[in-house]
Amino acid sequence: MLTQKEILSTIEMIDRQHLDIRTITMGISLLSCCDSDAKAACEKVYDKITRCAENLVRVGEDIEQEFGIPIVNKRISVTPIALVAAASETEDYVPFALALDRAAQTCGVNFIGGYSALVQKGMTEADKKLIRSIPEALGRTELVCSSVNVGSTRAGINMDAVALMGRIVKETAARTQERDGLGCAKLVVFCNAVEDNPFMAGAFHGVGEAEKVINVGVSGPGVVHHALQSVKNAPFDVVAETVKKTAFRVTRMGQLVAREASERLDTPFGIVDLSLAPTPAVGDSVARILEEMGLEVCGTHGTTAALALLNDAVKKGGVMASSSVGGLSGAFIPVSEDEGMIAAAQSGTLTIDKLEAMTCVCSVGLDMIAVPGDTPAETVAAIIADEAAIGMVNNKTTAVRILPVPGKQVGDSIEMGGLLGSAPVMPVHPESSAAFIARGGRIPAPLHSLRN
């Protein structure tokens, strides 16, 4: 029998500690939509998405009401469009993005992910066409998210793709200049991208996945922060145990919602992604958890160790709570989306270099970082290369979502609103990486023996 204390603790987590389901994401395979006629392919894409995800938002809202747990986002991920559009005889892939956008609007979802290409080893003609169309596609759509995988532990890093993505990020910022380069918030460059990630902007439905699938992303930095407040000054094994117990509870809730959604939508359950996904709201910050462990400001010495403990304990607690764990699973450190990170970056304690170190031990990478608008494309590419190298060598997913904000300098700040938050423009190293990026070619896959 449940005790009053248990019931009230759940209610308090939801009411005061921002506990929520961050997203229910329906993955839909679009491989059946290939057509030599691009117009026909786009129609098939629209029809299939709107047919499969017709009830997604309504079911999400029903679950929200019955269980009393907020489900912040309902989203769709699709097969990387470079694979779908490859069959079409066309030079212009933007209509595919427009079809995705229309379908997302019709279904009422927040975002649709999968305007993507996987080019870790090489680029097909279709991959090149898709990547070159990203700035226009993101400039002309509202809800479409794009991602490009430029490296993997098995294939190495495709440095031609890295160089190209440096330019694409800059062009995307220029295309969405009037909105402070907001298009870049919808563009992720990955190494070791996962096929079942429910979180945006990097979600796509991998080719190894089923026809359609339900993936759920949980959240809960506020709950972990609150739990750690009860173990002040305790040794780290106590901290780890506390995080594990909290992650277990949060994930059980995610598993319950995933199972309900899967049954009601008659769609197989895929995975629960156990991520601590912060929001700009006070009390929903990953940085504040690290500070609760005893750091004056996130970004000071000790931050990487604190994050390593947090990331690992979240996974250990969550794994037992769900029948299938996947996606990115860990702690996210998006600067603009985390109230504590914003404050730490504004104070100058949290720098890009420290964030890069933190990405060695957290679940993703350099995320939602605003840099000066005059940052050269080669520098953006070199940042991507560094991050991809960390992912490649450490056998983990890493990503870069960076906004070179047109017309802004260090000291300025941009407001994106909603979950995207606000970001102080952070300095990058002024020294050039141009000759490094100009080399092109591939960085070979790393050796995974002789590990001393």
Binding site: M1, L2, Q4, E6, I7, T10, Q65, G68, R252, M253
Partner: protein, 89 residues
């Protein structure tokens, strides 16, 4: 279907009566009630059975919220599974 109804707010005369009457109106059977008052703060948790309820989950939830608003109370109803999931293995 079982649900948990939680009533939280400042203590006053007639909370229990009003909530229980509302339950009876909806044809909801009350399985268990616990109630505490600490320094004038009223907390009541009810386990209820919606099997023979005469309205939908959404309608009942809305009706309880309305009752709560009128009395300065926070009344919510959630399916029991969410609490079971989070607190039992």
């Amino acid at each position: 279907m079982n649900a948990i109804v939680s009533v939280i707010g400042r203590d006053r005369v007639g909370i229990c009566a009003a909530v229980c009457t509302k339950m009876a109106d909806y044809g909801i059977n009350i399985l268990d009630i616990t109630q505490t008052i600490v320094q004038g703060n009223f907390t009541m948790i009810m386990a209820v059975d919606l099997e023979k309820a005469n309205a939908s989950f959404g309608e009942i939830k809305g009706g309880l919220e309305e009752l709560g608003n009128g009395m300065g109370l926070d009344i919510r109803m959630q399916r029991q599974e969410i609490f079971d999931a989070m607190h039992t293995i």
